[in-house]
Symmetry: none
Subunit: 256 residues, 2 copies
DNA sequence: ATCTTAGAACGGTCTAGACCACTCGCCGAA
DNA sequence: TTCGGCGAGTGGTCTAGACCGTTCTAAGAT
């Protein structure tokens, strides 16, 4: 059930010289920003038409514009909904838990696997060690505020984390590596690509098979040693990455 | 004087199950491809409405779609025109070209548009200036070995690049900005997300509608001024990004 | 308890205009 | 010859609906 259109502040000024649909667009934008959490329904086109004394086509024009800006989306037969803003994930070497807490969200994880495996040829190559070398494999579904956000899988050479598998799976991997094993990731590199959701990943992330996902493969280093190789899949509708850039040689940009 | 609408082949099939405005859109697309050189005028909205027995609003919907795809453009008081031709131009892009050449591929670019526009509400917000402010819009399809790789679109405040549009579209945008206007990008930020290919982008990149693409929105700065906002779509099957990482406070990583 | 159907509410599409502002060409007056 | 005004043609905006397809819920039947 959509919110009542009568709750929307603002009126149309037919003498202002600004197109009526443009005025309505801005009224709706302000209303959404102040009163509409993501996922909430807007009043129907007909309700808005009645509330503002406009033709439904004029209301649709204003809504068309906000749809184009990805502020809202329409669902046939159901209504018009505020889009969840995509999270700006700065690509940096901090733990997921820290990042979500910084955003006022409750991080959670469902452990899918926490075990020792021998390095496959592929993993041996990525981690720069011999095939068969023991690795700790830590695979999780990461959630924020109860919603699936990403599927992460880490591979860490077992000899660097003796005893890790004896305890409970860590709630924050990088924190445990740092505090328990003195491994503080100093640098790394990400490979970022778009990919289509496989059936298993789709099920975990609650998206349709084939939906676009962000895939990030990461190599993390301590000094010259690669300590972690990970693969993560992020829901495309909930994530975008924020990457600070700097021209080589230019002074560091200010971070907000 | 526009061509007569009676010259347009094709008819609307009200029983086909395909929306009438979609049918008209495709009729117009074919007509433009076969009979309308760039710059020529289409029949007016009212002529098309009469020719096909449709409401003018329905015709406008079909035209809206082709305008959105940049096949045609509208001019208030004058008419609807087929957009200027694509310019085939070999472009040297520092990072793109190097990357392609490292792979033993031949880089190229197709200019899709090179023009001045007034800033839309969205672009005004992204570029931190007033709605309507003149911008230079530079849109390209980037290819390697003749295959489409990405679609890039830059927006630069026109006052920063006086005379830029008088010449040919630059082969290397950032080089021209640097050498001709003294604008050297010092820092910036990318927003990276996965998205599903829209019909127009899918056609440009030769992928299926809905296929995953990497979308990168970039804000580039000189000192504190934002000088360039760009949006790029990359084929997911042909592109992944490499992002060097560094833990805040750690010493700089070695670059290869 | 379950299934089916109908109705309500939604967005999508379409009709049939009207009126406004812009552009350009033509014609008449100076 | 030049200038201004007017009319025609254009797209932009808006009205006031109608009808279709989708989705969901509630009520009645089994």
């Amino acid at each position: 059930m959509a919110a009542g259109a009568t709750a929307i502040k603002g009126d149309i000024d037919r003498t202002s010289g600004t197109a009526i649909y443009v005025q309505l667009r801005e009224i709706l934008r302000a209303y959404i920003a102040q009163s509409c959490p993501p996922g909430s329904a807007l009043p129907s086109e007909r309700d808005l038409a009645e509330r503002f004394g406009l033709a439904r086509m004029t209301v649709r024009q204003a809504i068309d514009a906000l749809v184009g800006e990805e502020v809202i989306e329409r669902v046939v037969g159901l209504g018009t909904f505020v889009r969840r803003p995509k999270l700006d994930l700065q690509v940096k070497l901090t733990s997921y838990s820290e990042e979500m807490q910084r955003r006022g969200m409750v991080p959670a994880a469902k452990v899918l696997s926490f075990e020792q495996i021998g390095a496959s040829a592929f993993l041996a190559r990525e981690l720069q060690l011999d095939e068969g070398t023991p690795l700790v494999r830590f695979r999780r579904l990461l959630l924020a505020d109860g919603e699936p956000m990403s599927v992460d899988e880490n591979f860490i050479p077992a000899h660097r984390v003796p005893g890790l598998l004896d305890g409970e799976p860590p709630t924050s991997l990088y924190n445990v590596l740092s505090e328990q094993f003195g491994l503080v990731m100093e640098w790394g590199e990400d490979m970022i690509e778009a990919t289509a959701a496989s059936p298993s990943t789709a099920r975990l992330l609650n998206v349709e098979v084939g939906a676009p996902l962000l895939k990030i493969q990461r190599h993390a280093f301590v000094a010259r040693a690669m300590v972690d190789y990970s693969v993560s899949y992020y829901r495309a509708d909930r994530y975008k990455l924020w990457v600070p850039l700097q021209r080589p040689g230019a002074r560091r940009a200010r971070n907000h």
